[in-house]
């Protein structure tokens, strides 16, 4: 069922109402809840970026963790070694992520697809982690590197509440941008490649370049999220970008719904809050996220977003007109 004109208006209102209401959130939270809320905003961006490749483009990829790490390390290095203010490092971290996305997917230009491309992204991710650990002089090796306290226009950015507002603004910008891309010619091409690449190519769309573009945009979003993460934890070290992060991002995208922008938020929210209890038991998190993905694949393949769609056509995500 297509949403009517009124419902479309309602949807636009809803899109802006959510972040506006969230502006009031820091007034009612305690420090711990605020920290979790900040994590959710960051992971919503991670899921959004990852979803762009595995959901919208439909290409299996493992580079997400590496791109997140590139953003976080990029931001920390720019602040520490080059003395840039953190806020300036956000878009630059995005660019670093996009460059990583380009490297991970450049093989697509050579005609490499599907499993081969997935394996290349896997290799790329592992190589990046090897680099974090062995590039000691720049990355701090296994010890990682800290981020000094930051401020913006004289306001200190050490409090989680202050950080929240910046995270929210960045998130809204990136969500809006992603939605606009999806609605554009390029975005529709990305989804057309998912449905049938050969047919898409026959329409004169350069599918290889579309694939690389999708990886780069994904890298940009995830890279920016990495910069936020660097400030959020004020410390980056290799373990944050390890194997656990990979299954967490897969699980968030799947629980929310493959290819759904709303799903990215839902998945991030659900899976940031739930496993907080498991953190202290080694192995429990891996088991939990593994089982969650299996359960979703079997029982709710279109994720939480599909439940919302059943509730109201406002939540139907379609990026083309009849």
């Amino acid at each position: 069922m297509m949403p009517t004109q009124t419902q479309l208006l309602l949807r636009t209102l809803l899109f802006w109402a959510v972040p506006l209401l969230l502006l009031a959130l820091p007034l009612v939270t305690n420090a711990y809840v605020q920290f979790i809320a900040n994590s959710i905003v960051i992971f919503a961006l991670v899921a959004l970026g990852f979803n762009f490749v595995i959901g919208n483009l439909g290409q299996l990829a493992f580079a997400n963790t590496a791109l997140f790490g590139l953003g976080a390390y990029g931001s920390a290095i720019l602040v520490n070694s080059f003395g840039l203010p953190w806020i300036v490092s956000i878009p630059l971290a995005g660019v670093a992520g996009a460059a990583g996305g380009f490297l991970a997917s450049a093989a697509a230009l050579r005609g490499i697809r599907l499993y081969y491309l997935a394996i290349i992204t896997l290799a790329f991710g592992e190589l990046m982690r090897w680099l974090y650990v062995h590039g000691k002089s720049v990355t701090g090796g296994t010890d990682g590197m800290g981020l000094p306290a930051q401020s913006l226009f004289g306001f200190s950015l050490t409090d989680d509440r202050a950080k929240f507002y910046i995270f929210l603004v960045v998130a809204v910008l990136l969500f809006k941008a992603t939605l606009n891309i999806l609605r554009s010619r390029v975005g529709r091409s990305v989804m057309a490649v998912r449905e049938n690449e050969v047919a898409t190519a026959s329409l004169g769309i350069p599918t290889a370049r579309i694939i690389v573009f999708a990886f780069m945009w994904s890298g940009f979003v995830v890279g920016c999220a990495g910069a936020l993460f660097a400030l959020h934890t004020s410390y980056v070290f290799p373990e944050s970008f390890g194997m656990l992060h990979l299954i967490v991002s897969f699980a968030m995208v799947l629980v929310g719904g493959l290819g759904s922008v709303i799903g990215a938020v839902l998945g991030a929210a659900a899976l940031t809050i739930l496993p907080e209890y498991l953190r202290s038991f080694p192995g429990m998190e891996e088991l939990f996220f593994g089982l969650i993905v299996i359960a979703v694949l079997l029982a709710l393949p279109d994720g939480l977003a599909s439940l919302l769609r059943k509730l109201s056509p406002i939540f139907v995500e379609r990026y083309y007109r009849e």
């Binding site: 595995i54 439909g58 299996l60 093989a107 050579r110 005609g111 490499i112 599907l114 499993y115 081969y116 997935a118 394996i119 290349i120 896997l122 290799a123 592992e126 190589l127 090897w130 062995h134 050969v198 190519a201 026959s202 194997m243 299954i247 897969f250 699980a251 799947l254 493959l258 038991f281 080694p282 192995g283 429990m284 998190e285 891996e286 088991l287 939990f288 996220f289 593994g290 089982l291 969650i292 993905v293 299996i294 694949l297 079997l298 393949p301």
Partner: protein, 289 residues
Amino acid sequence: MLMQLTISGISQGAIYALIALSLTVVYRSTTIVNFGHGDFVMAGAFLSYVLVVLLGVAFVPAAMLAVVAMFLLGLAFSRGLVRPIRGGPHIGFALMCISAGYVFRGIARIVWGREVLPMPRVFDINPIFIGDLIITGDAIFILSTTAIMLAVFFGVLALTDIGKMVQAVYQSARGAQLIGINVDRFNDFTWGIGAALGAIGGILIAPISLLHPDLGASFLIKGFAAMTLGGFGSLYGAVLGALILGLSEQYAGAYIDSALIDITAYLVIVLVLFLRPHGLFGRKAIVKV
């Protein structure tokens, strides 16, 4: 020096061969690449550890038990988790395999925590000395076991009806179904074989390395590197690719830089896919419009 490196390269390569072969077997009949296979291998190694160290079973029966258990696990995985999501997007299979792998890894970590476990030396085969050359007992054991497994494997494929069924399902699943092969059940069986072969690789490597829950990731990459090098989907290519990978790791580690051993597999993947994407023996994929 060169001969010594060659021998250790071949014995490493033999283990990679089992892993690459088990990945290829599943890929050929189901077109699914098991992205969780490294953890299946790890699970096989851990099972043998449990049986030998914690329950005191002798090594050979323990290894056999572990292989049978992994065969059943592979079968159950295919029957219970892969079959129900057929018809969904292809990405679903990959995610199913990955998550199953994480479940194994989580269980292993819950049981063993962050410890790294040394497997006791189970075999006392005397090393053979040929001039300066030393062939260790482990190498003899690994090479002979792998050789036997490969002979049985390729023998069954070439000489029996099962081999013909494998060929039929690989060429056309629907065609195979038409002539009365139960493709679903056949695929379950293939998953079992894949898991069992991978487990043998894990069990062989356990006594010469340390066991830890994250072992799987590197196995997976080595298996992929061997497959990519030999040509995705080619059985002989997987074995040969694995041997070449094992050798190049040793040579690169000795003659260039020892840190290279860790990343040779990645470099092989990237180089092969850029220079010769269909590998040494793979067929060039042709996209029909």
